[in-house]
Every structure is written in C-alpha cells, then in structure tokens.
C-alpha cells in the first residue's frame, strides 16, 4: 500500500523531539494494530513467519 519508513529516514534537520514524537505515535498505533490482529479473522491467517518478514 505505502512504503514504510523509519524515523531515521527523516530529513537530517528534524529535531530529536520530533523523532521521539513520531516514534511515540507509532507505538500507540502498533498497540491498536495488535488489538486488530487479535480480533480479525483476516489477521488470524497471517503466520508468525509472515509477520516477521520484511514488508515491501
């Protein structure tokens, strides 16, 4: 769907505070993703190996 980036790929002038905020937002979102995966019949089809595989 979209390319995934890491905070390290942000422009060099981005402050540490902004990088930390982005990371905090991702953690909040990942907690919600975990809830969705647990509840969704679609997500239950995803094997642990697939979950760990690099995403294109």
């Amino acid at each position: 769907m979209i390319q995934r980036h890491t905070p390290a790929e942000l422009p060099p002038h981005v402050t540490d505070e902004e990088r930390a905020e982005l990371e905090r937002g991702r953690r909040l979102l990942e907690a919600m993703i975990a809830v969705v995966r647990k509840a969704s019949p679609v997500a239950q089809d995803v094997t642990p190996e697939e979950e760990d595989a690099p995403h294109e």
């Binding site: 769907m1 979209i2 980036h5 937002g25 993703i33 809830v35 509840a39 697939e50």
Partner: protein, 459 residues
C-alpha cells in the same frame, strides 16, 4: 450584539425576504464582527468581504424587484478551509497548499449559494483536517470563544468558533473521527454528521476516504436542520412522532444510554458524566424510556477505526510529506508518518472488522431508537496542553459513527466548572438524520436553548 445578531436563520431569512432587513446591512454587521474577533479567535483563514457584499446586494435587489429568494437568503455562513469555494484559496491551513485557488465551488457550497447563503469566508481548521492544534502553520489556531485559552475542538475548529461567537449563523465542517462533533461540543453549538454519502464530498479535500463525512454546524437544532435541508435539497418531513419529539414529548421513545456498557463510566470526567446522565433524566421526564445498551468493545472499535484512518491518511498524504517535509506543520507530519506503521494486511484486517462491528451495533436499534453518548471524555482543556496523539491515547468516542457510517448529532448539554460547554451526541441508524434532529430539538428544548448564551463577551 444587537438585534441582527440575535436572529435565528428562519427569522433572518424572513426579515430579509420581506424587505424589513437589508442583506447588505446583515452582511456588514457580521463582517465587522469577524474583523474585530480575528486577533483573538482566529476563526477565519480568509474573509471574502467583496464577494459577500456583492452576494448581499444581489439579494436586496431581487427582493426590491419582488423576486423570490432562497431559504438561506442573506444567511452568513463560513466554510471549512478544506472545502472549495470558487475564488478563495483552499489552503487546508497548510503551507503546502497556500495559493491554491479553485475555479469551482464544492457541491455543498454550490447548494448553499443556490439557497442564497452568503459565504463570508473560509473557517480555520487543523492542517488538512488532521494536524492540530498547531502553532507552526500559516494561521494561528482558532481559540474557544468561551475562553480563548481553551481548545475549541477540532478539526473543524474555526467552524465551531465562528458559529459560537456569532461570526456567522452556520458553518460547513467535515468529520473523520469527530471533527464536527468535538468542536460543536467544545464550543456549545449543534453539529450534524450525516451518514456517509448523504452529502457530496466533491470539492472537499480528502483525508481518510472511507471515514470522511461533510455536515452542517449551527447555533441550534432548527438552524442546523434548515441548512441540512438546503444541502440535501429535501424536506426532512413533519411526521407525527417527529412533531411531538420536537416539543420535548418523548412518550413512546426508547432511548439508549451507552456510556456504562461501553466501559466509559469510570473514564468520564465527573462533570461530563453528570451532564450526560442529566440528559437521560430529561428524556425520562419527557415520557421516554431509557435503557442501558452495550455497544461493541470500545477498545476494538477504537483500534479498528483508528488503524483504518491512520492507514488511509498515510496513503493519502505521506508521500507528499516525505517529498516536501518543511511545507507541513510538525503535528501533521508526525501523525501522518505514524500511519506508515500500518501494513496492508493490518489495514485489511481492520476493514474486515467494519461489517462485524456494524452488525453488532445495528442490532441495538431493534431495542432503542437512538443511542446517546458523550462527545468527549473530558471537558475542553487548555489549548496549549493538547497532546499530539490525544485521539489515540484516550478512547475516541466519536470514531464509531465514522467507521460504521452512522449519522450523529451533537448538542450542548452542560457547562464545566471552568465555564466551558459540554456536549452530547445522539447516534442513529443509517438514514435517521431527520429523526435525530427531531429528538435533538426536543432535548434542546428541555435542556434550554443556548441562543442567548453566545460568547459576545469576547468581542
């Protein structure tokens, strides 16, 4: 505030169409108020003085010639700055879009013009309806007219502020996760989020394509209904039950209260809880039957809807943010890029829950006509203290309706100890907008209309 400012939409339209009041005078009155308020409230991002007065003159001339005028003749309106108004920049309150001037009106704006509304200008909002409140955008954030130190809600912040402060009579906002209902609740006005696809999104800058809704905001339910009818081009009807409900007679009405069953009771601020529960008692006073209902898990609703929204926002905006990073505010880019954490399979998993959650929710409407919920867990807080990810940290009550495409109407139901409004919302089944407005009008009657409690003290 003089007599002009006290007029509702119906009374203003009646006076203008009968020639007792000049549309130019009304427009001038509101433009003067807007200008005076801007340094304090920042409700508008652009003000179309020339265009508004030209529209007003044309209406006065038609009235003088004895020609009919529309149901919004001379009614001053603001339009959220992600919605196209021909000749005015649609900035989205973003440096990235400054100077983008559309040649055509959005469909909802064209409908307003067809009803002879006066477009005063563009209402301030969070950056592309997502990044805010922010202090690093081309426009300062809108401020709550009840106390400018406080958050007016968002993302249709300027819409709520402009209506509440008497800087227009109605506004058009958008709602992806509560963006009409939160500012309506925080500013003490009425906001309707119609069901998905009830109003055209043509000419509206998309944020999250399966969650975005367009809707009206106004001082009271009757004004909100009038604008909604103009936007849909239809009459919302005068059924027997509806007429009774509007009078506050709720006999026979089954009314659902969902905060307890949703696990919200312990999370609600005591002042929000008191105002919400008091509204339930008013329904019972009116002869209605209140029943506690249990919505699907709040944690799951919040997660599935938020994952969907964050993925769609990232798909929509992240490439541009990456390419032109400094053209965006820090709040917008942090939120948008956080959405890149959602993988395609996670997005599909979230979307797959929509139907399950819809079926679990819609079953409740076999037992009750409507479900009442607070608009937010807490009363409005200080503007400078709003957390960047507040919509993910606290459970988002509003996002259920966006995710399931259900209509909801917000109305004021109390005031916090800090003197800020507290709002509640009524949620209905798809297609129930007219009935929602009936119930809201009756409830508004029992709570007490707020027309005389606008925040004139600020300007």
């Amino acid at each position: 505030m003089n007599d002009i400012g006290a007029l509702t939409i119906a009374k203003l339209q009646d006076a203008i169409s009968a020639g007792r009041l000049s549309a130019v005078d009304v427009t001038g009155y509101y433009l003067d108020r807007v200008e005076a308020s801007q340094p304090i409230l920042s409700a508008y991002t652009s003000i179309d003085t020339g265009g508004a007065l030209a529209q007003a003159r044309a209406i006065d001339e038609r009235v003088a010639r004895g020609e009919p005028v529309g149901p919004l003749a001379g009614v001053p309106v603001s339009v959220k700055d992600i919605i196209d108004v021909r000749g005015l920049a649609t900035t989205g309150c973003s440096r990235s879009a400054l100077g983008e001037v559309p040649a055509r009106d959005a469909e909802v704006v064209a409908r307003l013009r067809a009803c002879d509304a006066i477009i005063l200008g563009k209402a301030n909002c969070h950056e592309f309806a997502f990044g805010g409140p922010s202090f690093d955008l081309p426009f300062p954030p809108a401020r709550n007219p009840w106390n400018p130190e406080y958050f007016p809600g968002g993302s249709s912040s300027g819409s709520g502020v402009s209506v509440a402060a008497g800087l227009c009579l109605a506004s058009i906002g958008t709602d992806t996760a509560g963006s009409i209902r939160t500012p309506s609740g925080h500013c003490g006005v009425v906001g309707l989020m119609p069901g998905y696809d009830r109003l055209s999104r043509h000419g509206v800058r998309p944020l999250s394509i399966t969650m975005d809704h367009v809707g009206p905001m106004a001082r009271n339910t009757r004004d909100c209904r009038t604008v909604y009818e103009c936007l849909t081009g239809s009459d919302t009807g005068e059924g027997d039950a509806g007429i009774r409900y509007r009078r506050g007679d709720f006999s026979g009405l089954r009314f659902g209260m969902a905060a307890v069953g949703w696990g919200l009771e312990d999370r609600l601020h005591p002042e929000v809880r008191a105002a919400y529960n008091a509204a339930g008692l008013l329904v019972e006073d009116g002869g209605g039957f209140v029943e506690q209902v249990r919505l699907p898990s709040l944690e799951l609703v919040h997660a599935a809807a938020s994952v969907t929204m964050m993925a769609e926002v990232a798909a929509n905006h992240a490439p541009a943010v990456r390419a032109n990073y400094d053209d965006y505010g820090t709040v917008f880019r942090s939120r948008t890029l956080a959405g890149e954490a959602v993988r395609l399979d996670d997005y599909m998993a979230a979307i797959s829950l929509r139907d399950t959650l819809y079926r679990a929710t819609i079953r409740l409407f076999d037992r009750v006509e409507f479900i009442a919920l607070p608009v937010s867990v807490n009363p409005p807080g200080k503007l400078a203290a709003v957390d960047r990810f507040y919509f993910m940290g606290d459970p988002n009550i509003n996002i259920l309706a966006n995710f399931l495409h259900l209509p909801a109407v917000t109305l004021p139901c109390g005031v916090s100890k800090q003197g800020l409004p507290i709002g509640m919302q009524l949620l209905g089944r798809r297609g129930s907008e007219a009935s929602l407005l009936d119930i809201a009008e009756g409830l508004e009657r029992r709570i007490g209309r707020w027309d005389d409690q606008r925040t004139d003290k600020v300007i």
